[in-house]
Amino acid sequence: MPTKTIAISYEGEGSMIQRPDPEGFRQWNRKKNKRLVDKLMTDEEAIERFVKSGDYLGFELYGTVRCPMTLTRALVRSGKTDFRVAGQGVHELDMLLATDRIREIDFTYIGLEVYGVDSNVRRAVESGKVKNVVEWSNAAITWRFKAAAMGVPFIPAKSMLGTDTLRRSAAKVIECPFTGEKVCLIPALVLDVGFIHVSRADKHGNSQIDGISGFAFEMSRACKRLVVSAEEIIETDEIRAHPDRTIIPYYLVDSVVHAPYGSWPGEMAGYYERDEEHYKMYVEKQATAEGMAGYVQEWIFDLPNHKALLEKVGMDHLRGLNIRGDWL
């Protein structure tokens, strides 16, 4: 048939920090191990084995909510750097920004929610330490994961149209060949390494999440390497007893880290509330570079591992955050 065409009516001028490559992702996924093997390891080992400087990273959920903070602290301790990140983040990205580990950001939201503007991102971006910032909306960045999870190079959306957010993104606008309407094409985003904190996982990586699932489903399916930390490690029989509770199947997972209170100082639905006392203290510290440096020194570098952190915070204090009676 004669070749018809459709118009690309707009192209964002932002750079594509991580290019969509469905074929490359398919090849990678084919080689992933499909056997049920024991993937339990420490946070240090997980970071050592699966992360390298320059990687493109993502975290789920975010900052103060079911956030892989234990993994984040281990990542900062590792000294690895020059990361590119998908910047839906709060507390976790602060740690990386404050220690100058981030070079490029696909930026959606970095702030302190009710506590306002984030001083770390201001210092890192305004000083030029972060070399490249590309803008997206929260839905757009999640749809980028969703496109990757679907194994396609893009998905259409009705967001970002007509704005500077679109102009500073790497999205494109086309006229729909079915309806003629303009749609924004959101390119797939595959992470080099993803970090997700879950309620329960077995040693193979099969994972369950209580409450909202944020973007765990999509992001877990959009990673070349996936490191999961879990409040509880359960038997595979428990997974098989309720297969409809599994949100991340084992074959997506490279590493399983047992991290009770792994979201601290953030909350964990069904387990504990966020540590508001600590967080308020943090909000004050982060206001200045000096304060932030002191915070990172005290709460990350001066502590060898997660166990040491729990001891410093104190089990009595942590138990005070529990909303689940029988929890630790």
Partner: protein
């Protein structure tokens, strides 16, 4: 404090009065959460609160501190994820959306990305977050912000979230869903809407003790005025009582 109520409490009451019962509202952190909660206790018991990261129809017993925290799906009818919520909004299910920003222009476009050149910002702001998505797909958006010349400007530094863009027809031309757009701006000085024909911001009512002149003085663009500008009643004792005893007992917004 000297007054009977705080400026935050006034904003919360004004925002809550706007929401109709039996509708859905996309709720962000802060004042919108309290406004929705107050509306549920006052005139809108069937207002469905929808939160970005998956909470739908929660019973807001405790004030959520984050758009994804466990209070956003407390006794909810559905706890899903951000894609489900954003796509539900994209499918046209969400009536009201709350927005904020550092700058707003006469067409209701909002900037929450950067002050100055975005490539070398004077101030790097938190970014779009879900703002652009709310501003794109919710039927009626409500902006809540302090009112001064630094925020209400002729030209915002960056259009993070779409208002009426460059005016009538611009949203449709850009491909945004038909019939959507800015509805109200609730500020420290009054409540503003938009002129149907020109899509320009228009003063509808002023807050207690505020004159029309003061609003105009504190607006950096040519503000349209409703024929009869009404006076917003101050927070009622009932509103304040519910706010202080039930919704915000810790007085975070006192």
């Amino acid at each position: 404090m000297s007054e009977k109520y705080s400026s935050s409490e006034l904003l919360i009451c004004l925002a809550s009065r706007i929401m109709e019962d039996g509708t859905t509202a996309f709720i962000g952190t802060g004042i919108p959460m309290l406004a929705a909660s107050l509306a549920q206790s006052m005139h809108a018991p069937n207002l469905v609160a929808v939160f970005e990261f998956g909470g739908t129809g929660a019973i807001l017993e405790k004030l959520p501190l984050a758009v994804g925290d466990m209070r956003t799906f407390n006794k909810a009818v559905h706890a899903s994820g951000i894609c489900d919520i954003m796509e539900t909004s994209q499918r046209g299910f969400i009536e009201y959306g709350f927005l904020g920003g550092a700058q707003i222009d006469m067409y209701g476009n909002l900037n929450s990305t950067a002050i100055g050149d975005v490539l070398h910002p004077k101030v790097r702001l938190p970014g779009s977050g879900g703002g652009n998505d709310v501003g794109s797909c919710c039927w009626r958006t409500i902006a809540v912000m302090p009112h001064d010349k630094r925020r209400f400007v002729q030209k915002i530094d960056f259009v993070t979230t779409p208002g009426y863009l460059t005016g009538p027809g611009a949203r449709e031309e850009a491909g945004l869903p038909h019939g959507t757009g800015p509805y109200r701006v609730v500020t420290s000085l009054g409540v503003l809407g938009y002129d149907d024909k020109t899509k320009r911001m228009k003063l509808l009512s002023v807050n207690p003790g505020v004159t029309v002149e003061k609003v105009v003085e504190n607006t950096g663009f040519d503000l349209l005025l409703e024929k009869e500008i009404s006076h917003n009643p101050p927070p009622t004792d009932q509103e304040l009582d519910i706010l202080r005893t039930k919704i915000d007992p810790d007085g975070l917004y006192r």
